[in-house]
Subunit: 215 residues, 2 copies
């Protein structure tokens, strides 16, 4: 399939890019800095150098799937919402490309009272420096939930999302996942396998699912 990855040099984007290439897809890295992309993804990589907010429908309409793995700085975390709204507006009343949004864990529910995990994140000392990101990823999901005429899906990792090889995919819907050892974590490798599995064999449509490590 032809897959475009916005933010392909980021934490999630890099591993999704690598997994998609490994599976033989035609992948385009959509990034602001081509030189950085070549350094990270290799000199054979197919790169579209453009600011995501300058993307046009023409840039994206030929993809089967566009993955939005955009990451903002905390002081511009609202860009998570704005880029999502821009992509959605581009492909209203269409079924293709399929849009896959990499979200955060903050919008997952946890605990006996099923509170939002972002409320726990807020309690972490120093969280005021970065809490805008999970807050806006929650807004991003709330926006998506009201979109009924675009082929979208959202994906959240578990509480800890760190670089690493695939540890085995566990899937859930709206609740934070925990592995047998009581921890909630997802490696970028596990995330990439789950995203490519979903790209190749769609199970979710207009909803968010979550990915955790099996072990």
């Amino acid at each position: 399939m032809k897959i475009g990855i916005i933010g392909a040099t980021g934490k999630a984007g890099q591993s999704i890019y690598g997994e998609a290439i490994k599976r033989g897809h035609k992948v385009v890295a959509i990034v602001r800095n081509k030189k950085k992309a070549i350094e990270i993804l290799g000199s054979n990589s197919d790169v579209l150098e453009v600011d995501a907010f300058q993307l046009s429908k023409r840039d994206l309409e030929d993809f089967d799937v566009v993955v939005d793995a955009f990451a903002s700085s905390p002081d511009k975390a609202y860009q998570h919402v704005d880029l999502t709204a821009k992509l959605i507006a581009m492909f209203r009343a269409t079924d293709s490309p399929r849009l896959i949004f990499i979200l955060g864990a903050g919008s997952l529910r946890t605990g006996e009272d099923k509170h939002l995990f972002v409320e726990d994140l807020r309690e972490i000392p120093g969280s005021e420096k970065w809490i805008s990101v999970p807050k806006n990823q929650l807004k991003e999901l709330n926006f998506l939930k009201e979109v009924d005429n675009v082929n979208w899906v959202g994906v959240s990792p578990s509480a800890t999302f760190e670089p690493g090889p695939n540890k085995g995919v566990v899937l859930g819907k709206d609740e934070l996942l925990f592995s047998a050892n009581g921890e909630s974590h997802t490696t970028t490798g596990t995330m990439a396998v789950a995203v490519l599995d979903e790209i190749e064999s769609p199970k979710y449509r207009r909803e968010r699912f979550t990915v955790g490590d099996a072990g």
Copy 2:
């Protein structure tokens, strides 16, 4: 003040345009069809002919206030959400221009159980032809409610919104208003006076208010 009105030839837009001119403001009609605007608003009117979805930040940044009185056809009612998201993205982390969104009555609450008025609208025979509009105006408000770094305000009329002279302004917040005779109505003239009052003397910020006829 310098006021731009998107959809200045529509039902709400026309009367807001007229009231703004009457009060001596510098008003620009932002419309898709200049010829139609000249016919409706007069040959002296200042018209910016542009599709609202092609507007750039440069087109709007010099206004003190931009009124979004855009009206969609029912088959493209999602454009209410998309245009709002586009305008919001343009003016993130700014205080000017102030953005005023003309919404519908469907997002107001009514009855003892405080249900959304859109649920009553859905019961009207034939509503399937146009219910997409109030449904998307509700989504538009839900989107706005999460926006904390743009100078926006939303305005809803009462249940019946029809052309007519100012009948005296009654203001509310999130509940459908009824006049002494038990009816819920707003003329375009009453709406225009309320909107210009709010433009000249801001009372609301990052919230929605509603306007009804006094009599």
